[in-house]
Amino acid sequence: MKGYSLKELREAAPFLLPLTIFIVAFILVPVLGTIVDSMYLDVTFLKTRFTGLGNYLWMINNPGFWQSLGFTLLFVLVSVPLEIILGLIFALLLNENTAVRGLLRACVLIPWAIPAAISARTWELIYNYNHGLANFFWTKLGNSTSPINWLGSELGAFTSLVIADAWKTTPFVAIIILAGLSAIPEELYRQAQVDGANLFQRFSKISLPLIRPALIVALIFRTVDALRIFDIVYVLTHGGPGGATTSLSLYGYNYFLIGDFGYGSAVSVVLFFIAFILSITYVKIGRFGEELR
């Protein structure tokens, strides 16, 4: 290795060793183990044997898999743009120099800090058909005869999950975009105002291009996170009604639960590669690496 003396490497090794051990032992080895296991017929109480791509073949012929893949992708497609737009609006508001800025920021952060599984319980009550907050407002809005079956209908369950997820994750998006916004010098806006640019022009011509890196970062993190959605689905809809909201994570988990580790692993591997390919693509498109230096 050119330019690196053995002495320097030996000096650095102990500092990096604990990190390496933990990442390898508790993340890399388990992922490899899952990939290997996905090629075995591995069901509790049955003799484990190699099946090659058997689990994958079964998967592509299994409607349950396609339903759950479809839901997961649709969920990403709907919730991520919604969260980015809401997060952008929140960030613009939080960037304003108002007297209560600190308090506003703290309040907006609260949903982010509360564990999703706990807030999902609150959403479960909010969506309660007879007594929940959601239908309380819905019927007050003049729909007194037709409350929404939030968690029991396919569209209702999907909408419920999107809203609950947006509530939990918009703060994160807002914080990331806010960092991009607050780095823009005030001068630029003042100059543009002198030149006669209106509010909207100042936003689209100055703010938007300059927060592009922040938007891409938020997009990557949110997409990967939404793809692996588990907690709120587990608590709020249990994947129902009729499997309509079973995310890939929950789909795989359900197979682990009944002891079919081989098939569950195959599902996990598919999810793993979808997340992997998507994040690589984003990084390439957004030239993420350049922004970071």
Binding site: L19, T122, W167, F230, D231, S249
Partner: protein, 276 residues
């Protein structure tokens, strides 16, 4: 209306919406926890305040609320401390020492943080079963350390990068070893950043759900998010009052931390995500 007035109107209306959107579920949770009837919104009933729900979860041992909360606090705190120790060592070497492929290491760790948890869980479950650790703190703490390391490393690297290299050089000239420089010079200077990162690692561990769901079986190690998610009533009907009281009490520490350290949390999150 002038542009200035329109802007002000938009800000006030938008901020109000933002506040209500963010806080309404939280207040609904608190209101239900304090209400003698969880369905106080129905036309037939009205809100009457009570502390019975809190009394119930705090004094009924079979509900295990305090066990879950204690488990969560211990597991999150221990894993946060270890994560930060390990991340400090790595961040120091990545910002100060000559190491081949530094950028690759950082991006590799970032990629690791994007792995879906479901792709680790079955293997972890098997190993933990084999060594008999299922339903112990160790079964959670070890994966949590690995799981919170990437983010912590990125944040700390960004903080350490800001500390002038001259401090190290001065230390080396004075005859300090690398360890002494880290302990006596870098750590004290970076203390505020390290504190923010510890806070974030704690919050992340406290939020974790899937590992805890799969690797614990009862109140001996089960954490509060799983405890509350699986909380069922004894008599068939969901005890909303009790659940919301438990939710309120267990989120209170996080909410207080957020309100006090809002600035630090925002700074830490931003550094982890935006700067390298």
């Amino acid at each position: 209306m002038t542009e200035q007035q329109i802007k002000r109107l938009l800000i006030v209306a938008g901020s109000l919406f933002m506040l209500i959107f963010s806080l309404a579920p939280f207040f609904y949770m608190i209101a239900t926890s304090l209400s003698s009837n969880p369905y106080f919104l129905s036309a037939a009933s009205k809100l009457s305040l009570t502390l019975n729900n809190y009394h119930a979860i705090l004094t009924t041992p079979s509900l295990h609320f305090l066990d879950y909360l204690r488990n969560s606090l211990i597991v999150s705190a221990v894993s946060a401390v270890f994560t930060i120790l390990i991340a400090c060592l790595a961040a120091y070497s990545l910002t100060r020492l000559k190491i081949p492929g530094k950028l690759f290491i950082l991006f590799f760790v970032l990629a690791v943080s994007m792995f879906p948890q479901i792709s680790l869980i079955s293997y972890l479950f098997k190993v933990m079963t084999e060594v008999g650790w299922v339903n112990t703190y160790s079964a959670l703490i070890l994966p949590y350390i690995a799981w919170t390391l990437p983010l912590s490393l990125w944040i700390l690297v960004s903080y350490f990068n800001q500390i002038p290299q001259d401090l190290d050089k001065a230390g080396l000239i004075d005859g300090c070893s690398r360890w002494q420089i880290l302990r006596r010079i870098i750590l004290p200077v970076a203390a505020p950043g390290i504190f923010s990162t510890t806070l974030l690692a704690f919050i992340f561990a406290f939020n974790e759900f899937m590992f805890a769901l799969m690797l614990t079986t009862d109140y001996h190690a089960r954490t509060i998010p799983v405890g509350i998610a699986l909380f069922q009533g004894l008599h068939g009907q969901t005890p909303w009052g009790n659940i919301m009281a438990a939710a309120t009490l267990s989120t209170l520490p996080l909410v207080i931390l957020t309100l006090i350290f809002q600035r630090r949390i925002i700074q830490g999150l931003t550094r982890g995500a935006l700067k390298g």
